[in-house]
């Protein structure tokens, strides 16, 4: 019943394998069938910088690949979610779609406009539901205070997510975290971007955004940050590590939501959730839960 084409994107399958591992485990647990499509390519998000047309074409190619198999797409990366959702919106316009299909014909593909894209958190929220998750929890996480971070493209551009949630006061990740028993904290810089997309052109800029958010957690007794995007993950984890080489003040463990959920469902932290792959050791968290 719940069957999706899994869209891995660029970064998850190469640099943040723990996200993929945990996501596959969680989906399997809840009976969400994931289909791997080998022909999927980059969502086109970054190519927009040089050519809006190229970006849209790449997104359309991916959408068409899912459509030919009659599948909707499940994404792990927030940026892919935003890029593909925005493309769907653009391709609702028939003239644009015709223009794109003209080019796709060369590779024998066509996008008819029938695909939906959902981020894994949204699938868990809408298809499985917070109540069902609550009932399945097997491990007490109530001692954990975690800071949710949504990731910009999870809900933006706003117009592409109108029927789901508005970006200025988001609640879904808070609710998903609460469902596991952990306590999501409120904090001032909730809406702040991780800076990941500015990282390739300016490392310093991106670092200062990372620090702004991490600074906000000082004195708030936060055990971990919970994310739903691997680009955000790399920024707050790997780049945090790099910043700490100089300042050594944070050492804040970072979890991806499927990992937190997996912990609550009693999954094996190393084998099933990939916690061994973390740059910042999650041992502190594991020690806190029973």
């Amino acid at each position: 019943m719940n069957k999706y084409a899994l869209f891995l994107g660029c970064t998850t399958p190469t640099k943040v394998l723990q996200y993929e591992v945990a996501s596959r485990w969680v989906c399997k647990y809840f009976g969400i069938e994931l289909i791997d499509i080998k022909d999927f390519v980059c969502c086109g998000m970054n190519q927009v910088n040089l050519s809006i047309e190229t970006g849209l074409l790449m997104a359309a190619m991916n959408l068409a690949l899912a459509e030919t198999r009659g599948l909707n797409i499940l994404t792990l990366c927030a940026a892919c979610t935003g890029a593909l959702a925005e493309a769907i919106e653009r391709l609702e316009d028939k003239a644009t779609r015709d223009e794109v299909n003209e080019k796709l014909r060369d590779i024998r593909l066509e996008y008819k406009g029938k695909v939906k894209v959902k981020h894994i958190s949204r699938v868990l929220y809408e298809d499985i539901g917070v109540e069902k998750i609550k009932r399945e929890v097997k491990r007490d996480l109530s001692g954990l205070r975690v800071a949710p971070h949504y990731g910009c493209h999870y809900l933006k551009p706003r117009s592409a997510f109108e029927e789901f949630e508005k970006p200025d006061n988001p609640k879904t990740l808070h609710e998903l975290i609460s469902a596991t028993g952990a306590h999501p904290i409120e904090y001032e810089t909730l809406g702040l971007c991780c800076g990941g997309k500015a990282f390739p052109v300016s490392e310093d800029l991106a670092h200062s955004l990372v620090q702004k958010k991490l600074d906000d957690f000082m004195n708030k007794e936060v055990d971990a940050m919970v994310l739903q995007c691997q680009t955000c993950y790399l920024m707050y984890s790997d780049q945090q590590k790099k910043i700490d080489e100089e300042y050594s003040k944070y050492n804040l463990p970072i979890l991806l939501y499927p990992q937190l959920l997996g912990l609550a469902l009693n999954a094996n932290p190393i084998k099933e959730l990939g916690l061994g792959l973390h740059r910042i050791s999650p041992d502190k968290i594991l020690a806190k839960i029973t």
Binding site: T14, Q47, L50, C193, P200
Partner: protein
């Protein structure tokens, strides 16, 4: 006189001869940037921009105004237009529905055509043509995926190469900065 100049870096006002009256219409001719003409410089975009917060030289409001005034060279050659973190805050709160995120992409596309693209993005596109993703294939993650019994990734994507070549984006040359 020379001395004063050194200390103060004396500046001249922007002269009308430096303004390109066609620049604005060129930009808003692109459907993605059409809304820019309605901008009334309220500054909501800049106030909510995370990059502007830490680096004031990057300012959506200022760039929007520079485009409207016709400051073609200054806008397109600016290294700062590439600093956007793509968070969409500017557009989602704009009271005039100017999608600055898209306006900026239009500007970046124009700048890229004129030879101002940062090498990072040019390299990424080259990479995408080769592997389908923005990274080159690396032994270590291929091995890791096997260890975790994750499905292998396809390493070449001729179809993608074909459509990318159709758009000509692979021909864009990176910016060369004179020192």
């Amino acid at each position: 006189m020379n001395k004063i100049k050194k200390i103060l870096e004396l500046k001249n006002p922007v002269s009308i001869s430096e303004l390109d009256p066609n620049f604005k219409s060129e930009v808003i001719a692109h459907p993605d940037a059409r809304g820019l003409a309605a901008c009334f410089s309220c500054g909501t975009c800049s106030a909510g921009c995370p990059i502007h917060e830490v680096f004031s030289e990057y300012s959506p409001k200022k760039l929007a105004k520079m485009v409207r005034l016709g400051m073609r060279k200054q806008v397109l050659s600016s290294p700062y237009i590439w600093y956007c973190a793509t968070c969409h805050n500017c557009e989602q709160r704009c009271p005039q529905n100017v999608s600055f995120f898209n306006v900026l992409n239009v500007l970046k596309n124009m700048a890229a055509k004129e030879g101002y693209a940062p090498s990072a993005w040019v390299e990424q596109t080259k990479q995408v043509v080769k592997t389908g993703i923005v990274f080159p294939t690396e032994e270590n993650w291929i091995k890791k995926r096997e260890e975790l019994s994750l499905p292998s990734l396809k390493e070449d994507h001729p179809k993608l190469k074909k459509i990318i070549e159709l758009t000509g984006v692979n021909k864009i040359k990176p910016r060369v900065d004179k020192e």
